[in-house]
């Protein structure tokens, strides 16, 4: 076999396959890493990676090979991964897609990435994202938008990979890493996964430590993986999770063996179909896909139950008070004094104002302004406090339905990927991307997006499974049942 064929074969392995091949010594971590470095360097047209760390990758792969030789393999030994730009990586630039953090080199490592390295994973580089994770198309990044490897049939336009974890989704779909970290505040893992034919899970709030993650909205932010298969996500999530005393909201619950739930029978499980997610004017293809998903789960032996989540329509407006409010507070630290960009000014106040005006992009400024306004004197009760109460109503809806069902099935997104520039003029039309995912953040529940089919234009569509808090195992079981039934094998045609 010549080298080129071998490299392609290596890229075709899933994360789970690669782990087995590495343990059986059929391939080495170094070979695998070299194949991915080549793919990463060959995929620059997608703008998925903002920083490539090939030397670090080679060094880590070599160490993995040494551990594999000694039979000391970790859970993700020798697996090349990409890391979203908002996870602090010691000695490697972490800019959260913002000009204000350009050149920031953290002197410490985030807990999630440390957990991955402790499990033997290999870092290929950092992945592009919407600025401070505020966006659904990757167009708010200060380092340019990311391209989706997928294009509509017959189109040579550039489609969004979604956001904010757009670089992560594009790199996984474009076979430029075996898995990538993402973060999800309103849908930022699940929406990009749906747009790129990949799998993405947001675990229960508190499963993954937020230490060393650049903060957007702390009561909603949660890390998770984007991978090619449900089992790959289970393996990667397991390595990412765990209690961390450096994050006071980190849960102390045991981390189960998530991969063991993949492929488990869902016979007799009750799956809820929330009627409020069937929205007026929803594209027919999303409806059809959803009905197909229901049929698949029925065939797998699940019982389908119609349920109601009456406060669903208030989730997005509620989110657009809470998230900007928390963001305006979190982003107050960017003042140009201790780290990051500093602009000139005649007075100290002017230095602050110019630094933040020049350092933040338009969407970030808009959200900081909204957050400042809703928290300002006289408006706090009417906006912020009210939103927190509505948030509880939304969470109570879920408590109620989870008394009678084990999981919920919904579409992941209200449409397939759209072209860059198509929705950037109207903030609300962009916000509506998260209509099916944001409820999971507000209630803190685990949710997975699984690729389930292609639309008429040949673009991927995803289905979402939402579960009870701390019940990722059911989410993985139902997710893998969908995956098996869908048999999604389509791949983007390589144009980059």
């Amino acid at each position: 076999m010549d080298t080129a064929t071998l490299a392609t074969d290596l890229l075709d392995l899933t994360l789970a396959d690669a782990l087995e091949a590495l343990k059986a010594k059929k391939i080495s971590a170094t070979e695998l890493t070299e194949a991915y470095i080549t793919a990463m360097e060959g995929g620059r047209a997608l703008n998925a990676y903002t920083t490539e760390t090939p030397d670090k990758a080679r060094e880590m792969a070599k160490a993995s090979d040494a551990r594999l030789a000694k039979g000391e393999a970790g859970l993700l030994e020798g697996i090349p991964l990409g890391i979203k730009e908002l996870f602090c990586t010691e000695g490697v630039e972490t800019n959260a897609g913002s000009k204000i953090l350009k050149g920031f080199v953290p002197p410490y490592e985030s807990t999630v990435t440390q957990n991955l390295w402790d499990a033997g994973a290999v870092m290929l580089g950092k992945l592009n994202m919407d600025e401070f994770a505020m966006g659904s198309s990757n167009e708010t990044s200060a380092f340019g938008p990311v391209a989706n490897p997928w294009r509509a049939q017959g189109s040579n336009g550039t489609f969004t990979p979604g956001g904010s974890s757009g670089g992560s989704a594009s790199a996984v779909a474009g076979l430029m890493c075996l898995g990538a970290t993402g973060s999800d505040t309103g849908g930022s893992i699940r929406q990009p996964a749906a747009f790129t034919g990949t799998v993405g899970i947001k675990p229960t709030y508190g499963r993954c430590s937020r230490f060393g993650m650049v903060a957007f909205a702390s009561s909603l932010d949660q890390a998770g993986p984007i991978t090619r298969t449900v089992k790959d996500s289970a393996l990667m999530l397991q390595a990412m999770c765990g209690h961390d005393e450096k994050d006071s909201t980190s849960l102390t619950a045991e981390v189960p063996n998530f991969a063991a739930s993949c492929g488990k029978s869902i016979k007799g499980m009750k799956i809820g179909i929330p009627k409020e997610y069937r929205m007026d004017g929803m594209p027919a293809e999303i409806e059809t896909l959803w009905s197909q998903g229901i049929a698949w789960l029925k065939d797998a032996g699940a019982e389908i139950v119609d349920v109601s989540l009456p406060h669903t329509k208030y989730a997005l407006p509620c989110y657009y008070i809470i998230a900007p409010a928390e963001a305006s507070s979190n982003l107050a630290r960017y003042d140009g004094m201790r780290f990051g960009y500093r602009a000139e000014g005649k007075t100290l106040a002017e230095v602050y104002q110019n630094t933040r005006s020049e350092g933040f992009g338009e969407e970030v400024k808009r959200r900081v302004m909204i957050g400042t306004y809703v928290l300002s004197a006289g408006y706090y009760d009417a906006y912020y406090l009210r939103a927190l109460k509505v948030r509880r109503r939304i969470a109570q809806d879920f408590d109620e339905v989870f008394k009678s069902v084990d999981a919920l099935l919904t579409p992941s997104t209200p449409s397939a990927a759209f072209q860059l520039g198509e929705r950037s003029a109207d903030p609300i039309s962009m916000y509506l991307n998260d209509i099916f995912t944001v409820t999971g953040n507000l209630a803190g529940l685990p949710g997975i997006s699984v690729p389930a089919g292609l639309d008429a234009q040949g673009l991927p569509l995803g289905l979402q499974v939402l579960g009870r808090a701390l019940d990722e195992e059911t989410v993985f079981a139902v997710g893998s049942a969908l995956e098996r039934a869908a048999g999604f094998a389509a791949k983007p045609e390589k144009w980059w």
Partner: protein
């Protein structure tokens, strides 16, 4: 797929996906007062004030467009007034948990070089900042 379907069918908001959300103007003109009395719109003066509070410089020509964008968003958010929240406790945490406490001891520190390494300006492990006191 027709992502613009809703628009063609004349759905309320130009969302392109046709979800039934009335345009912000519908809220601004409706006669029925919301339960919580609120002016769900901001003017240019308020935008200038909020920008100042947020420490963001805003050019004169950018004030009015920002007012309009924010009013669009605030008008959309106003539908929260329809929700009955009487007797509902505000939700501040997803999973009920007690605040963890630790010993009040130093666990890290003594790394002034690392702390100042990313500063725009530093000198002998001190941050150099613009003059604060005139």
């Amino acid at each position: 797929m027709s992502v613009g379907k809703g628009q063609e069918e004349g759905a309320g908001h130009p969302s392109g996906i046709g979800i039934d959300i009335p345009p912000p103007s519908a809220f601004l003109t409706r006669s029925q007062k919301p339960k919580v009395s609120l002016t769900m719109s901001v003017d240019d003066a308020t935008i200038r004030k909020v920008a100042k509070l947020a420490h963001i410089a805003i050019k004169d020509e950018d004030v009015h467009p920002m007012t309009e964008k924010l009013n669009g968003i605030l008008g959309w958010i106003e539908q929260l007034n329809e929700v009955d929240v009487d007797g509902i406790e505000p939700m501040t945490t997803c999973i009920p948990m007690t605040q963890p406490l630790r010993e009040d001891v130093v666990t890290d520190g003594g790394k002034p070089e690392a702390v100042t390494a990313n500063a725009p300006k530093s000198d002998h492990n001190f941050f150099v900042v613009p003059k604060v006191v005139e």
